[in-house]
Amino acid sequence: MLIRKPADIPSSEITPPEVWRARRTFIQGAALGVGAAALAPLGAVASTYPRPGEDEPLTPREFVTGYNNFYEFGTDKGDPAAHAHRLRTRPWSVVVDGECARPGEISIEDMLSGFDQQERIYRLRCVEAWAMVIPWVGFPLGELLARFEPTSRARYVAFETLFDPEQMPGQRRQVLDWPYREGLRIDEAMHPLTLLATGLYGETLPNQNGAPLRLVVPWKYGFKSIKSIVRIRFTAEQPPATWNRMQPDEYGFYANVNPAVDHPRWSQKSHRMIGDGWLAKRRETLPFNGYAEEVAGLYAGMDLRRFY
């Protein structure tokens, strides 16, 4: 089961998705946002993370699952939804090694049962200047990393996506340098906002969104949030990241959302919110995608124009 059930609630009392989704729609319709009441049946833990305001409603599910950049399944936004059914997400395990005291392997089942799954409503800002608001389900990456006891030499965390052209037909062409790789500084990785997502909209993560396990780093451009992870490695040196390696002047290692630093080919000052419709205005992009209060401290004293 994806969502860990609190032990004191029998399964007969858990609200089926169609019921709570209808309830959620009703709550949103009443302009109350997603209320705590709707979260209770998910067994999600209440937390004090920031969530987008009322003027940023949830992006409709069909857009979240139908408009994706996941080049492993093709470069068109519709390709992942069309081809991701080929991905087998069970059995699935993640190797965690490198600079840590207890390297090992952990299965997706152990992650689902071993960590409290929470709902987190985050903005996702793509480097292509569009954005979504997505109700993820997952758990903080830091909780997983702590289990493997990183040593003092672990200054970065490297991630790798599955490489299997049989399941991921987009990998048959060298559009990117496969396998897709990303990395975070250890303090970014341990930050409570950094999430390992296992689901969205209260259900198991659809394949096209990076099943069964993906990273979500809400203050960074979407390409940092690597999908279908099979390997996590603690490193002493800054690990290679796919887009950064391909075009270092366009995609930085940090890739923090920053309206003051334009992509060389387009402006990052504003974005289009998916679901806003074709007569809607673009929205102003905020530093760190609106999470500056939580994360700006990680970069104190750094020249963000240089370390973009």
Binding site: E62, F63, G66, Y67, Y71, T75, K77, G78, E128, W130, V175, L176, M246, D262, R265, W266, S267, K269, S270, R272, I274, G275, G277, W278, L279, K281, R282
Partner: protein, 216 residues
């Protein structure tokens, strides 16, 4: 003679065919729902841009086609298709200025001064406007020999259009490269191959003679 001149009859049909992409898009847009996808402005931008390029390449294909067939009828469709390229180009500009940038002029000026792919696209559109304005018989007469020179700018427009497409793509260059190859072929067909061949054939015996003598 008039009865056999089928181009006169075919023209309205081609005209309606050229309007089809617009009609389908309008139907999808006005029909509401999700027909234009999650990012409808992006869809409209891409679609209008692609049809500009396609009409342009079709226009450029007519002269070689006419030569290959040994018949003049493709030339008689050339102005109409060229004007449709201009028409879709203007729609592309309108979508960009109004829907994408919401007529935010400071932002547009920034785009036009800092972003190479937008500059290149804009230059192509300005050139297209000049060609569209001077596409009438009257201008043809007024400009005389210069008209032909001026309208050779269509080759440059094609190159700029493909460049505009290539420069905006993130990683997968396949689609713009297909357009680049088609454009390359259409431009290559215009090179004076015949003259070169004749020159080569004439010079070949001389070369052969020389190489034979030198080998002795």
């Amino acid at each position: 003679m008039a009865g056999r001149d089928w181009v006169v009859w075919a023209k309205p049909g081609v005209f309606l065919l050229c309007l089809l992409p617009l009609a389908l898009t309008l139907a999808q847009g006005l029909g509401g729902g999700l027909a234009l996808g999650a990012n409808p402005v992006e869809t409209l931008l891409h679609r209008s841009g692609l049809w500009t390029l396609r009409m342009l390449l079709l226009t450029l294909a007519l002269t070689p086609l006419s030569r290959a067939l040994g018949r003049p009828w493709p030339i008689r469709l050339r102005r109409m298709l060229g004007l449709f390229a201009f028409f879709y180009g203007m729609l592309h500009l309108l979508v960009y200025l109004w829907l994408d940038r919401a007529l935010d002029w400071p932002v547009i000026v920034e785009d036009l001064t800092e972003r190479p792919y937008i500059i290149v696209g804009m230059v192509a559109l300005v050139l297209m406007s000049v060609l569209a304005l001077t596409s009438t018989r009257g201008w043809q007469r007024r400009l005389r020999r210069n008209w032909k020179r001026l309208h050779r700018a269509v080759y440059l427009i094609g190159v700029l259009g493909v460049l505009h497409f290539l420069w905006l793509v993130k990683a997968d260059l396949r689609e713009p490269l297909i357009y680049a190859v088609i454009l390359g072929v259409l431009l290559a067909l215009r090179l004076p191959w015949g003259r070169w061949r004749r020159a080569w054939v004439q010079s070949a015996p001389a070369v052969a003679r020389r190489s034979v003598s030198s080998s002795r």
